[in-house]
Amino acid sequence: MRLTCTVNGTEQQVDDVWEGESLLYVLRERMGLPGSKNACEQGECGSCTVYLDGLPVCACLVAAGQAEGREVGTVEALADADALHPVQQAFVDAGAVQCGFCTPGLLVATHDLITRHGRPSDAETREALAGNLCRCTGYEKILDAVRLAADRMAGTAAGAGTEAGGDR
């Protein structure tokens, strides 16, 4: 079947989509957007988190046809050509990226969290990111990154890397 949807602000059309394909497969294999990662295909890890009509969802659980006419936003659209989004920059500065396979999904989830909550408490952050598994970091530096990004986006950040250490 043919699928037409808006991805990262641009209308995309692909043909010969098998009806059983997920939005994740279409993004990765047919649209040249492999940023969203395939780690479980069962909604348990969050690595494929994308925005669908403004809500973070697991792209592996969206049938391709369900995205027809919808707006999809992926990790590839967070940064502009020159500068990283503050959430991305915070993940780099805080050392929240190791293997990085979970990172794209975490960035979308964190972007959504900070957009909605401004400066979430640690407990709010933990509940909001509980669907994004990370096997490398033990999550401490991810929490550091969320705090750092939220502070910076709120315009109150004193500095960058140092306060992200967080090794109390």
Binding site: G35, K37, D93, Q98, C102, A130, R135, T137
Partner: protein
């Protein structure tokens, strides 16, 4: 050497880093970080070519069976299918393996575990390939599997009698010998001191550790591209390119020149990528079809596609004086190696030589066995043989402390190894071993605030937002554990790495390029390589060349060894290049300058006030050095006594865990983890802390939730729905203190970091749960059933 016709999208690229990136000791920013947060970093599963085929594996549904016949005709006839292969299509050696070549590329006559690869399909769409695989008819004669390590070895009773083998029962079935030489992979003995010691206080315990999975997030994946010279280019997510190459060459019957490997982006490894997975399979399909073939496991296949951590059953006997001096330890340790050897021999080596923990004990008698069974093959996972024994020896130390009425930290400190101590294998520890200090520092750290049940936030409670308690039944416990682990390869292995370092002027700036085959798996080795080059060559701009087999082996990204060994190789190669630069500089100034050094892009002499720009010294020339570097040699150990200088270095860490346990429902919330670790020298402090945090999480996971459940040789939970790893709501805040006592034998004095915290965290959590519940708890992971007696 021929070049491939095309390069896939997502082929590895050079990583550059500059802008005050930082040298050794700095929190340098990783050069792949920006790519990773942009979603532009290409992992093995992101590789893509326009005409590529998708490969899938047909795996055995049975843990043990003879293959009577395979009929691939229906699969081959499916439209869209390009190739269907079986063992008959393997042109070279049909078996491979890290230490022993005993594992079939594709099953030959017999399958020995559920999930063993039997046939391969390449097709134009992954779903077509899957449907074709389902059409392959395999006629199995199903045998009864051997599923217990002690049974497999004929040891129904524990071997605690000195130097005698345990009572052996006949394995009655003909098929009960899984391999021609029997079911024993390795038996390691450690014997020191009095063979028949006695002590005033004796504690005995039996312990069990379940099968843990590495559960890296990026499943096995790669792309094989047939080359014009009849060879193949393989882009693959792996831990050790050259050992892969050796095994692939053997299976394909091709020389190394025709099997060229490049490291694709790796989504975590933790030991699970040290063995081959899809490597040979993708190459076979690519060579057969003449087209690029991508293989990318899904999560379920990933559980069958890599080795796991060995489950262990252990019996320990500790004897001590009334005042808490260890007199003797006897231990029997059984590792279930599953169907094929993988790295079981080395795991047995670790389990045996370090099996009593970082304690000084005059009389030691350890038997450590690795067995073949029909369970999934087990091999490398972070902590490698030491994770299992640490649960046992630290449980024993707590039990002994309780028996003596002594504080458990005090008991540990009283017996702690230190610099100058001898191990039970007769090795004198010749660098700092601050075991007692690690524990004392943990004790001195502030405790987390007591639980406040007045204002309930479910997210702080055992059970989380599932709303199982508002404080009812919750008891707090505190536990300590300490670990030590060998760094790098041991027992006489020629452990080395190769580095090629180039220095040249690029765009008007002195630029270094570092080329090694050392796999970056997420830990940050690429950052470390840059930092070392910056420090040694005084440049800012350092490029990391893609990791491939056009440079010599770097050895494995495992055993906490790459910063030590490849870092050592990069340092040594840089020193050679630096020597050339300084010689040129002296030629330039026309005399010998004793304190000449490189810094800030300059050749500098403080004494003589020289500061010549590096770009002037280099001009248009390119200085390049390639060298192999080795750590000091280790020795094979004596097969009868276990004595010998087996390990080049040890890493030490300690954990304090604070847990809240809902004792009525058996649910656990870890409140805080504190860790102290001696890292010798923190090359990148931020990355060091990241390793400690990540290792802590994996240890915690094994303590309370992670287990591949197997019944009759069959895996019951090959999914992230039922193989649970910690979420961000399961991980507590951590307190971390990093010590830097230099190891005089190691580059910069550094110690390998990655594994030790994975070893001490789990036993600390277990001890804390024990303290909260008063239960003996001899098995991990601890399940609610164990805590509630249901």
């Amino acid at each position: 050497m021929s070049t491939p016709t095309r390069t896939p999208t997502g082929a590895p690229a050079h990583l550059t880093g500059s802008g005050g990136g930082g040298g050794v000791g700095a929190d340098a920013v990783r050069p792949d970080g920006v790519l990773k947060v942009r979603g532009e970093f290409a992992y093995g599963s992101d590789l893509w070519m326009s005409d590529m085929l998708w490969g899938v594996t047909l795996r055995s549904p049975h843990p043990y069976a003879r293959i009577r016949a395979i009929d691939t005709s229906a699969a081959a006839a499916l439209p869209g299918v390009s190739a269907v292969l079986t063992a008959d299509d393997v042109p070279g050696e049909k078996v491979y393996g890290l230490e022993l070549a005993d594992q079939p590329v594709l099953a030959v006559d017999v399958v020995r575990y559920q999930g063993e690869p039997v046939a391969l399909v390449a097709a134009d769409h992954p779903d077509t390939a899957r449907r074709a695989a389902a059409l392959i008819r395999v006629d199995y004669d199903v045998w009864e599997p051997v599923t217990d390590a002690r049974t497999a070895l004929g040891h129904p009773t524990w071997n605690m009698v000195h130097d005698s083998t345990p009572e052996v029962t006949e394995l009655s079935r003909e098929s009960a010998h899984l391999h021609p030489e029997g079911n024993l992979v390795r038996h390691l003995k450690v014997r020191t001191g009095n063979p028949e010691p006695t002590a005033e206080v004796v504690v005995v315990g039996e312990y069990e550790v379940g099968m843990q999975d590495q559960a890296f997030l990026g499943p096995e994946s790669g792309l094989a591209v047939p080359a014009e010279d009849g060879g193949v280019e393989l882009y693959v997510a792996t831990q050790w390119l050259h050992v892969d190459q050796r095994q692939i060459c053997s299976a394909l019957g091709l020389p190394p020149e025709q099997v060229r490997l490049s490291l694709a982006g790796v989504g975590g490894a933790f030991g699970g990528r040290e063995d081959l997975s899809m490597h040979v399979h993708a190459c076979l399909l690519a060579l057969r079809t003449g087209r690029p073939v991508k293989m990318s496991y899904n999560r379920e296949e990933s559980f069958f596609g890599h080795v796991h951590r060995h489950p262990a059953t252990m019996r320990y006997e500790h004897g001590a004086t009334r005042d808490g001096q260890l007199v003797y330890v006897k231990a029997s340790i059984y590792f279930d190696g599953g169907a094929y050897a993988s790295s079981t021999p080395a795991v047995v080596g670790n389990g045996g030589t370090m099996g009593i923990g970082p304690y000084v004990v005059p009389n030691v008698h350890v038997d450590c066995y690795g067995a073949y069974t029909n369970n999934p093959p087990c091999g490398a996972m972070r902590g490698f043989g030491s994770v299992q024994t640490a649960f046992a020896y630290e449980s024993q130390m707590d039990a002994l402390a309780a028996e003596l009425g002594m504080d458990p930290v005090e008991l540990r400190c009283r017996n702690a190894m230190e610099e100058g101590s001898a191990t039970p294998t007769g090795q004198v520890i010749d660098s700092p071993a601050p075991v007692a200090e690690l524990l004392r520092r943990l004790e001195a750290m502030p405790m987390p605030a007591p639980a406040d049940h007045g204002d309930v936030d479910l997210r702080d409670m055992p059970g989380g937002v599932s709303n199982t308690t508002h404080g009812e039944g919750v008891r707090r416990g505190v536990g300590y554990a300490v670990a030590y682990k060998n760094v790098a390869f041991s027992e006489g292995y020629d452990d080395h790495s190769t580095a090629r370092v180039r220095l040249e002027v690029v765009g008007g700036e002195a630029t270094a390029t570092v080329h090694t085959a050392a796999a970056e798996v997420g830990q940050g080795l690429v950052t470390v390589e840059q930092q070392i080059a910056r420090t040694e060559l005084g440049v800012d701009q350092v490029t990391v060349h893609p990791k491939d087999t056009t440079v010599g082996s770097a050895g494995s990204t495992s055993a906490s060894r790459q910063t030590y060994v490849t870092g050592g190789a990069v340092k040594a190669a840089c020193e050679e290049v630096r020597g050339q630069v300084l010689a040129r500089a002296e030629q330039l100034v026309g005399r010998t300058v004793p304190d000449l050094r490189l810094a800030g892009g300059l050749v500098v002499s403080d004494a003589e006030g020289i500061a010549v720009p590096l770009v002037d010294v280099l001009g248009d020339d390119v200085l390049e050095e390639t060298l192999e570097w080795r750590h000091r040699p280790t020795e094979a150990i004596d097969p009868e006594t276990g004595q010998g200088f087996a390990h080049v270095q040890y890493a030490f860490s300690a954990h304090r865990a604070v847990v809240d346990v809902d004792t009525e429902l058996g649910l656990v919330k870890v409140v805080e983890m504190a860790c102290t670790q001696d890292v010798g020298k923190a090359i990148n402090p931020q990355a060091v802390v990241g390793q400690i945090q990540g290792g802590t999480a994996q240890g915690l996971g094994l303590a309370v939730m992670e287990e591949i459940l197997i019944k009759d040789g069959k895996v019951r939970n090959p999914s992230f729905t039922d193989y649970l790893i910690p979420t961000i709501l399961d991980m507590p805040p951590m307190r971390i203190e990093v010590l830097e006592y230099a190891d005089p034998h190691a580059p910069y004095g550094l110690r390998g970091v990655g594994e030790a915290p994975n070893i001490s965290s789990g036993p600390a959590v277990l001890a804390a749960i024990r303290a909260a519940t008063g239960l003996p708890l001899t098995r991990v992971p601890v399940r609610p059933e164990h805590l509630t007696g249901t």
